[in-house]
């Protein structure tokens, strides 16, 4: 039983991070109908920027938590600026181009960012300095560190805040209107460009937070880390229904749980016939099943005309 609880905890931590990144994909998709493949790289830049600041301040005598918050404070504006720039440079000029063109530039931006990060931060792995307390608590025989508790709670709080923003504020209303129909929203006096920029700013800020969480939890950051993370988060967004905010959160947490439970139990369930290397296969099998029965994802709305 303790193993099962531990696997659920593992899945929740991983899923919270996926969910935060998935939000970035889904927000942009909801408004532009564009899959922003560079989003994973924004997470990576956020992680490396924060880590650079954290390393500088690691021996300054400040408490660890303050140092990490300062790192985060540096990463968020950097990522926001980056997201804003990406949209202005790579996506806005192509907004009325055929669907494939911005997809290709998105992949291009992703590669460019990765290579720039490689030049700037080097090929080596960067370790997260051990400045955060490693204390934790036991729940029914399972172990969870305080950092992991913070990650799950913070991710939940951010997602709740985002829901409030989208559903209750003026900006949120404009975002929803733009998502529904950009032209008509424009005619109604919504500044489309400003709304789209705002979407990228918010998504990138979330990416920065996710980047710091990943590097703090796994104590590692690398210029290549955004690729797999982005792919997984994109999968989570599709699983939940891309374009749908609660869907991205649900998809992220579900994907984390599926991976964790899949890796933990698939071997025992199949009598050793399938091992933990089928963890991804298992995750994608679930994705396919969901898409067969609900083509727009678990909570997706009708987005067929966009895809």
């Amino acid at each position: 039983m303790d193993t099962f609880i531990q696997q659920i905890i593992n899945g929740l931590v991983l899923g919270s991070i996926y969910a935060l990144v998935a939000l970035g994909y889904t927000m942009v998709y909801g408004i532009l109908g564009l899959i922003n493949f560079a989003h994973g790289e924004v997470v990576m830049i956020g992680a490396l920027t924060a880590l650079t600041v954290i390393k500088l301040l690691a021996n300054s005598g400040l408490p660890g938590i303050v140092v990490v918050l300062l790192g985060l404070a540096a990463a968020v504006p950097v990522c926001m600026a980056l997201g804003f720039t990406i949209e202005r440079v790579a996506y806005r000029p192509l907004r009325n181009a055929p669907r494939l063109a911005p997809l290709i530039t998105a992949i291009g931006v992703s590669i460019v960012l990765q290579q720039l990060a490689m030049i700037f931060w080097g090929r080596s792995y960067h370790a997260f300095p051990p400045i955060l307390p490693t204390t934790g608590r036991d729940i029914g025989g399972a172990h969870i560190t305080d950092l992991q508790i913070v990650i799950v709670l913070l991710a939940a709080a951010i997602m709740a805040g985002l829901m409030l923003l989208v559903n209750k504020t003026r900006l949120g209303r404009a975002m929803r209107a733009t998502a529904e129909n950009p032209q008509i929203a424009g005619l109604m006096g919504v500044n489309i460009n400003a709304i789209i920029s705002a979407t990228f700013l918010i998504g990138s800020a979330l990416a920065a937070v996710a980047g710091v969480m990943v590097s703090a939890n796994y104590s590692i950051a690398h210029y290549h880390m955004g690729f797999i993370l982005g792919l997984k988060a994109f999968t989570a967004a599709v699983l939940g229904g891309i374009g749908n905010l609660p869907g991205a959160m649900l998809g992220g947490v579900l994907l984390g749980l599926i991976e964790s439970l899949g890796a933990g139990y698939i071997g025992d369930l199949t009598g050793g016939f399938l091992g933990s290397h089928y963890q991804d296969v298992f995750a994608f099998f679930v994705l396919i099943l969901v898409l067969v029965f609900r083509p727009s994802g678990l909570m997706g709305e009708k987005v067929a005309e966009r895809a």
Binding site: L14, Y125, I220, A263
Partner: protein, 444 residues
Amino acid sequence: MRFPVKTISLALASSLVAFGCGKEAPPPPPPKAEQPAAPPAKPTVTVKIGHVSPLTGPQAHLGKDNENGARLAIEEANAKKLEIGGAVVTFDFMGEDDQADPKQGTTVAQKLIDAKVNGVIGHLNSGTTIPASKLYSEAGIPQISPSATNPKYTQQGFKTAFRVMANDEQQGKVLGGYATQQLAGKKIAIVDDRTAYGQGVADEFEKAAVAGGAKIVAREFTNDKATDFAAILTKIKSKKPDLVMYGGMDAQAGPMAQQLKKLGIKAKMIFADGGCTTEFHKLAGDAAEGHYCSLPGVPLEKMPGGKAFMDKYKAKFNVDIQLYAPYSYDAANVMIDAMKRANSVEPAKYLVELPKTAFDGVTARITFDERGDVKDGAITLYQAKGGKWEALETIGGAPAEPAQPAAMSGMGGMQGMQGQGMGGMSGMQGMSGMSAAPAAAEKK
């Protein structure tokens, strides 16, 4: 072929044709040409040496390290203005990126073959080296891998395939023996990254550990890009192992050690060369303490030329050696050495000399067996202590100094030990004498 053609003797002209792969270099530098010495300016020939490793992607740090090692050897050879076949040789270094991806590995191999390289140092990973070796073999281009350790590489019957590092069979056996004998592991969990290397070394380890009387309580898998191991480690925790063996690279081993600690697993990790790096300590932080690893060869500081190599490397590239740079340095030098002995840079000619290699490199005295594997590869076991790998003991291997008789008796002694403690394993060919023979191990 404009100006120097008059100064080149006929003999060279014909040898140039014979080289085929050699390309004429720019005219000799002016100071030499102006020398009043009687013989005309030495003809020159350019020899292309290819090098392949992942320069991008998760293993880019190791890939660059390999490239630096080979590049250092090539630049030193260029500085010496070697004369081979009557011509001054300039080595042209072609560093290529295979992204540790088997598909990319063959693409790059074909590129090097099309560029008519005279030899290839690489690739880094077994997964890329094995498919690429077929192409090199068909093109007749000698290939020396500094770090591909999967046994398959040299078992395909290719005359062009060599390596300067002990293979996984040798390493897995030593590790498995050490885990069951010295570390008294009874219940062992094994994780590998499903690459040709990780899986290979884990399989060999498993065989040796089972033969040594241990029970494999869990066999889990990850991949070479993963950072999250919580799920598989949680499962492993429930099996309460004494040791966790990992077949894979440092980028996974480091975070894995940390997550092991976070989950409250007391068992120590043991892994082969892929995780045996300084990067491991960086990534694992204080969770690195007490884990074990093995590395073919003897510790670099203990090699005759080891310290000098470390200093040279640091001075030249201003970074620390990651892992395999000494091996790729040796691999390049072994190739150049064979060219010197064959007095030819033509692949077909110096390929004949490669199996006869007896070269004192910085990692070991390198000789090849009939398959192209390095002979009597020593394997050293290390334990993480205070943020460093501390050498525990070196098992097997010939010393770098050409003191063959002593080495032979050492080996004999070990074979004598084979019956003891190895039990059921003694039937597994003579090589098993290398594993788990504490009395015979040379303490270095």
